[in-house]
């Protein structure tokens, strides 16, 4: 049905890093890689090579610059034994996740090369003779033998606190979250735990426990000296704006990443609140479900509780995992297409972009304007308002005793911080050069390689007045009007007119067409210029940024409770340290058409 035949891993220079064959005799990597590279990037994740014997479908994913390939041949005598594409792709993602669990994030070629023994065990455990049998990275900890020596080496990389491995996880970005729940008093304990070296994890504890793990996704016998729980909610924006600036589609794709370092088998209850959205419709669960649409969950989540009460109740795996994915339609479910109601401002995003094309005397200029949208008439949520007051307050000098700087240190939920503000304007291939770039703030750069203008504005420069970038475009030489040349070509063409030669006739045909298109009226009127430079104008612009401490959807973590009654192996007096982090990113996610 679904046999994985092999996994090949290549490093960022496409050097073979690892070959693991599960079953049969798949095509070797040395043959597959050139075929894969033949395809022009971006390469599709499923490629078919009928020329190979047997014909092979190649699946590929890229993770942390490493390339994972898995071939699947179609010669098998027994029918209905071919792998489904999504199964293979999901499997490859799980392999990458599992390797990251053991080797630390990000996955690097050197790490794999240094720990072939662990990688080999992981690969052998996730699929048995090609039948995928274990997808839970955390449960693999029970079976993969890291040995006494390796574990110490790895401690820094498995995301345990106190190591330098994951600075992003422990910076001041997470507030102590005193507002969370009644039992969230673990600030002091957590602080102590932060600096503790990871010796709490018993180094020589044998991985093979006698019993199977009770819960398929959680390794058994979890022990932590400092008990910690972290909720990271990340929302990725995907907004499409019409040329008028009206949003056509606006989604926030959210993921809840959960880090659990609690001994025993904790039973957790995570309540979210909508922050005012969807008020007045049903109970809290209904409101929440109206905001968080099309949710998917880690298998640990009890779907019944979510359906009935709108809370996430679960026994987590140990360590870091993706708890939940959802999406939020920022336009609202039944948004009409009328102009009046939906403006960009009502989305409540911290920055907007406008593009005006065809400016200047010869219509060769365009202007990009970065704006801070104003919430019109209280259309935005309270969260938005507070965000904006914070943003403007933060950018002013001396506020918050000068500690408000962009960087990992800022950006808790009290004072969201905007960073990495970047506008990218792709230009048509016909554009030869961008002669002038005049940003009012920040830095702008014309990148001829991918034909785009990139404009970065530091968050501290981005005030309520916004910023402007003006560019002058230079088109192809033909546009400068050498009509004489075209005329000449046309004449040459006529001399060949009676030549029977086939190729030259083709040439002539081409030329006559060229004459047609280039033989524009000689006095180049402004209209013609505008017409011509319109083809050189950008058709889209994208805006990227990240906001720490704020979610576009307005979701908030209301409480995170550890059910002491249902949890096992955790002393009654243990109060885990809890942290919450919000992050909204737009990776070229806001796109303006123009």
């Amino acid at each position: 049905m679904s046999a994985i035949e092999a996994v090949y891993i290549f490093d960022e220079h496409n050097n073979l890093l690892l070959t693991h064959t599960y079953t049969a005799r798949p095509a070797p990597p040395s043959i597959l890689l050139p075929l894969y590279l033949q395809h022009a990037a971006p390469r599709p994740s499923v490629l078919y090579f009928p020329s190979l014997h047997p014909p092979t479908v190649l699946y590929s994913i890229t993770q942390d610059n490493l390339l994972f390939l898995s071939p699947s041949s179609f010669s098998s005598a027994s029918p209905a034994t071919t792998a489904e594409p999504l199964l293979v792709l999901e499997f490859l993602h799980r392999v990458a996740d599992a390797l990251e669990e053991f080797l630390g994030s990000p996955l690097l070629a050197v790490k794999i090369a240094a720990h072939y023994d662990i990688v080999a065990q992981v690969l052998a455990e996730v699929a048995d003779a090609g039948v995928v049998c274990q997808g839970e990275a955390n449960a693999l900890r029970d079976v993969v033998e890291t040995g006494p020596g390796v574990l110490n080496n790895l401690l820094g990389k498995v995301g345990l606190p106190g190591s330098a491995g994951v600075p992003g996880l422990q910076g001041g970005a997470r507030g102590p979250l005193s507002s969370i729940g009644s039992s969230g008093s673990g600030g002091g304990a957590g602080g102590g735990g932060l600096q503790r070296p990871g010796s709490g994890l018993q180094a020589l504890q044998p991985a093979q426990t006698a019993q199977g793990t009770a819960i398929p996704w959680r390794r058994s016998n979890v022990r932590h000296t400092s008990n910690e729980l972290y909720v990271d909610i990340v929302e990725t924006l995907s907004v499409t704006l019409a040329p008028s600036g009206r949003p056509l589609a606006a989604f926030a794709y959210g993921s809840i990443a959960f880090t659990c370092k609690v001994s025993g088998v904790p039973d957790l209850l995570l309540s979210l609140s909508t922050g005012g959205k969807g008020a007045g419709m049903g109970n809290r669960g209904d409101q929440l479900r109206a905001v968080m649409e099309r949710t998917v969950f880690h298998p640990c989540v009890r779907l019944g509780r979510w359906k009935s009460e709108g809370v996430l109740s679960f026994v987590p795996p140990d360590g870091r995992f993706a708890l939940c994915g959802y999406e939020v339609d920022l336009l609202g479910p039944e948004a009409p297409l009328t102009v009046g109601k939906n403006t960009y401002g009502s989305l409540g995003l911290p920055a907007g972009v406008e593009v005006t094309t065809g400016l200047g005397s010869s219509a060769n200029d365009f202007e990009v304007r970065l704006t801070q949208p104003t919430t019109s008439g209280g259309g935005g949520s309270a969260a938005t308002a507070s965000l904006q007051s914070n943003l403007s307050g933060g950018s002013g000098p001396g506020s918050r005793s000068g500690s408000f700087k962009p960087g990992p240190g800022s950006g808790d939920s009290k004072a969201p911080s905007l960073e990495n503000l970047t506008v990218r304007v792709p230009l048509p291939a016909a554009v030869r050069n961008v002669t002038e770039l005049r940003p009012s703030r920040g830095e702008a750069r014309w990148n001829p390689a991918d034909g785009s203008v990139e404009w970065k504005v530091a968050a501290k420069d981005f005030g309520p007045l916004g910023a402007v970038l003006r560019c002058t475009i230079q088109g192809p030489p033909a546009a400068d009007g050498d009509d004489a040349g075209a005329e000449l070509n046309g004449m040459t063409a006529t001399t060949y007119d009676y030549n029977d030669d086939e190729p030259s006739s083709a040439y002539q045909t081409q030329d006559s067409q060229e004459k047609r298109s280039n033989g524009a009226p000689e006095p180049v009127s402004r209209e013609a210029r505008v017409e011509r430079s319109r083809e050189l104008m950008p058709t889209s612009a994208t805006l990227s940024f990240g906001v720490k401490g704020w979610l576009a959807s307005g979701l908030k973590v209301e409480s995170l409770l550890l059910d002491n009654k249902k949890s096992r192996g955790l002393g009654q007096e243990v109060k885990p340290y809890k942290g919450v982090k919000y992050l909204t990113v737009s990776r070229e996610g806001i796109e303006l058409r123009c």
Binding site: S76, E84, E145, P148, T236, T240
Partner: protein, 834 residues
């Protein structure tokens, strides 16, 4: 759902990556290669640490690129098997599986040791031994493996039973003759009460038996359906695939004709007009066929519903597949939202998901209409994704409201104007063309005018593509588009794209004759006249079309003259005849040529004169209006002139074509053959959705993505599922009945009674724990809860040791309360049942 590593990468900054890279790039002591004798020495050591180090080096050599010879260590490595260290065993097994095939004799030496481990006290060791033994690819041991599996099947630990299930696959691959035994083992394992054993058994079943031997499934069917929620994703996938086929083979499709739900009006009508009820009942349209699903099929379909919230995209597509092919009306709508959710997964999965969405969309476009926002194209997407999104947009177009339709058209128009990507332009223009096929005339007119306006663009590529699509639309219903053709002909003055010009000329030749049927060929003749003047400046493609146009007009003229001669000499008669044969619109079309109502035709004729250079036939126009019998007809003259031009064309092809026309139309009296050739009705071009050709492939299959039927997926019967079994030929439903004594052992049984199995997950069971109280652990089939219980006891012991006696009390008291709860639940259940 995004994988955790991708989410993490969003959270961590680039700086961290480089820091870490720098730290890790440093030299590592352990990777420095050692000479072979030294490694052997390490392996022979008595210290665990040294042996482990040696094994690590061997494994590293085995995986390193280029691979190094590690076969020489085989005996030494095997010797370490005798050590009781748990840490070295996985590595040795790994080495053994990898090398066994290369040196079977040495590998056989290890069998004895492994067999001993099969009866180890630790179930993990037993499972690993079984797994390794089956993995040794040496056919002579197949019977030993089979025996080992037999032992594993009845093992107390589910871990071992799971390993046994997976070993079945390897055993059959090793030696086909063990199949009968293995099928026996599988039948036992399929009935296992432990969900992850059953899941693995289903996976193994699919590998070993494919979709044959469905008789093994009958007894386990209901149990498997109930357990599917708890299985791991891979077991779920296998089960979904299996059950979809099973349902087609075992549940006949029963339908019942029922009366369609009536509207209010009809009801009122019925009330007052009950005098003639017979007439009402005769009406076929009042009835529709509704399916009566088998209760067992319904059990399957409802129990997989919670899987739609799985994080695994493959599972969601597999559920959608089951719904699409088993219950497209009742259940499929629930799967649409989760399918849409796949669009936010990583790029690689998104593409495959889109292929599947298109496939569902072909079957049921209306369900996707409200999700149009998800399919708006973004400039950063790869071309494959864009193409698929465009396809979805056009598929849902007919079922959208007018507001949304105009939005979608604006969208398509925007992307048809992206000069940097010709493929996108082509796709968008074609998409507009497909939208124009909408049954609503207003929308199709709108699409057409959009396309027509695109002809004015300066992008030759766009104009060419737009023309192509316009041509197809006109060909589809030429009668409606006569004026469009005339308007297009007028565009010839400024059209620059050669493809577009050729397309217009062809259209004029095919469809413009009807507008000016005076025997003179109407607009077509005039267009021809003007084009001939510019013949020299045209490209070869256009020249060919001009010659073709000339031949067609000339032929029509000949036909007309012939008919004219036959009917009467009277021109009035001829006019009448033509009028009849062409739908009787002659007067207006007559006036179209020289009259006042059709400014376009007039306009372009005047234009023709305006830019007329000194031409060789200045009098043609006049001649055409006042036909003089004594002089050759202008059409004849024009035709001769055109052929002359073509004769001195550089292109072989065109000269050849001209010679062909000359011969074909050489004798003006016999035009039958020429009419057959030139005036034959052209087949209407089909512009199906690009994925239409993939329609026969199964949702979720690789063929669907690749677009080719792949061996192994496409059997002799075709790519899809088997047809529904005929009524009366299905297996007896009684086969699926479970034996009464098994009831109540698996917690799921209780749920079925309470009909609450819909939203239950493994975690859910954890709450409802202990209906069986503490005694559940003692039973043979351990449930998840039983495991938890065990753990709890252990934990309690341990915490007491560490001085935390309170937790022990806590758990016991909790146990009491939970038992009470579950008792009350049971009462409720009982109430439901009775």
């Amino acid at each position: 759902m995004e994988s955790i590593s991708r989410i993490s990468s969003l959270l961590e900054t680039a700086r961290d990556l480089t820091l870490e890279a720098a730290r890790d790039a440093g030299p590592r002591k352990s990777t420095r290669p050692l000479p072979a004798p030294q490694i052997k020495k390490l392996l022979d050591s008595r210290q665990e640490r040294e042996v482990l180090d040696g094994l690590r080096r061997v494994i590293a050599m085995q995986y390193a690129n280029p691979p190094q010879a590690t076969l020489t260590f085989f005996p030494t490595v095997l010797k370490t098997l005798s050590h009781p260290y748990p840490s070295t065993r996985p590595l040795v097994y790994n080495y053994l599986i990898h090398h066994a095939e290369l040196d079977p004799d040495t590998a056989l030496l290890s069998i004895n040791t492994i067999q001993k481990s099969l009866s180890d006290r630790n179930p993990r060791v037993r499972a690993m031994a079984l797994k390794t033994m089956a993995g040794i690819r040496v056919p002579v041991i197949s019977q030993i493996v089979s025996l080992a599996i037999k032992k594993g099947v009845s093992d107390l630990s589910p871990l071992v039973r799971k390993a046994a299930a997976l070993a079945c696959v390897k055993c059959v691959r090793l030696d086909e003759t063990t199949r009968p035994q293995v099928e026996e083992y599988l039948a036992v394992l399929l009935a296992d009460k432990q969900y992850y054993v059953a899941g693995a058994a289903v996976q193994a079943f699919m590998e070993v038996c494919g979709t044959e031997r469905l008789d093994l499934i009958h007894p386990a069917y209901r149990r498997l359906c109930r357990m599917v929620v708890d299985m791991d994703e891979w077991g779920q996938l296998a089960l979904l695939k299996l059950m979809t086929v099973y349902a087609r083979r075992c549940f006949p499709r029963r339908t019942k004709r029922t009366k369609r739900a009536q509207t209010q009006e009809q009801k009122a009508q019925d009330f007052y007009e009950d005098l003639e009820p017979e007439a009402q009942q005769e009406n076929e349209a009042d009835y529709e066929e509704t399916e009566i699903p088998d209760p067992d099929l319904t059990l399957f379909l409802t129990s997989i519903h919670p899987l739609l919230q799985s994080r695994n995209s493959a599972v969601i597509v597999a559920v959608a597949r089951a719904y699409l092919y088993l219950s497209p009306t009742a259940h499929l709508p629930q799967a649409i939202g989760p399918l849409i959710a796949l669009l936010r997964s990583p790029q690689d999965i998104q593409q495959v998901a889109l292929h599947n969405i298109v496939q569902v969309c072909l079957a049921q476009p209306a369900h996707f209409a409200s999700y149009y926002r998800h399919f708006l194209i973004r400039s950063t997407e790869p071309p494959q994704t864009r193409g698929l999104k465009l396809e979805v947009l056009t598929l849902i177009f007919p079922s959208c409201s007018p507001d949304i339709q105009s939005l979608l058209l604006a969208e398509l128009e925007h992307f048809s104007r992206s000069p940097e990507d010709p493929a996108l332009v082509r796709d968008s223009v074609k998409a507009i063309g497909r939208c124009a096929q909408s049954p609503n005339p207003a929308t199709s007119r709108r699409c057409l005018s959009l396309l027509l306006s695109q002809l004015h663009s300066s992008d030759d590529n766009l104009v060419g593509e737009a023309m192509q699509v316009i041509r197809h639309l006109i060909q589809r219903s030429p009668a409606e588009h006569r004026k469009t053709v005339v308007r297009l002909a007028r565009n010839l003055d400024h059209l620059t794209s050669a493809t577009a010009r050729a397309g217009v000329v062809w259209l004029v030749g095919e469809f413009a004759y009807a507008t000016g049927e005076d025997g003179g060929g109407g607009v077509a003749a005039d267009v021809w006249r003007i084009l001939v003047k510019g013949y020299v400046g045209e490209g070869e493609e256009v020249r060919g079309q001009i010659v073709g146009l000339g031949a067609k007009v000339y032929l029509r003229w000949l036909n007309w003259r012939k008919a004219d001669g036959q009917v009467a000499d009277d021109p009035e008669g001829a006019v009448k005849h033509e009028g009849e044969s062409n739908g009787g619109d002659l007067p207006s079309s007559r006036s179209a040529v020289d009259g006042n109502d059709d400014g376009e035709v007039r306009g372009f004729r005047e234009d023709a004169f305006a830019d007329q250079s000194p031409t060789d036939q200045p009098e043609h126009h006049r001649q055409q209006q006042q036909q003089k019998k004594e002089r050759p007809h202008p059409i004849e003259l024009l035709y001769q002139h055109t052929l002359l031009l073509a004769r001195y064309t550089p292109s072989y092809h065109l000269r050849d074509r001209a010679r062909f026309y000359r011969a074909l139309l050489g004798t003006p009296s016999s035009t039958e053959l020429a009419s057959l050739l030139l005036l034959a009705p052209k087949p209407v071009p089909q512009a199906p959705s690009p994925s239409e050709s993939r329609r026969s492939y199964l949702l979720g299959s690789a063929s669907l993505i690749v677009g080719e039927g792949l061996r192994g997926e496409v059997g002799e019967r075709g790519a899809g599922l088997p047809e529904w079994v005929e009524e009366g030929r299905e297996p007896d439903p009684g086969l699926r009945d479970e034996k009464g004594e098994e009831r109540g052992e698996y917690v799921g049984e209780r749920e079925r009674d309470s009909k609450g199995l819909g939203g239950m997950s493994a975690g859910e069971r954890l709450d409802g724990v202990l209906a069986a109280g503490g005694g559940a652990g003692a039973k043979r089939g351990k449930t998840l809860d039983a495991w938890l219980n065990d753990d709890e006891e252990e934990e309690a012991d341990e915490s007491e040791e560490s001085g935390g006696g309170s937790s022990g009390e806590g758990t016991s008291s909790e146990e009491e309360t939970e038992t009470e709860e579950s008792e009350s639940e049971e009462d409720e259940d009982a109430g439901l049942v009775r």
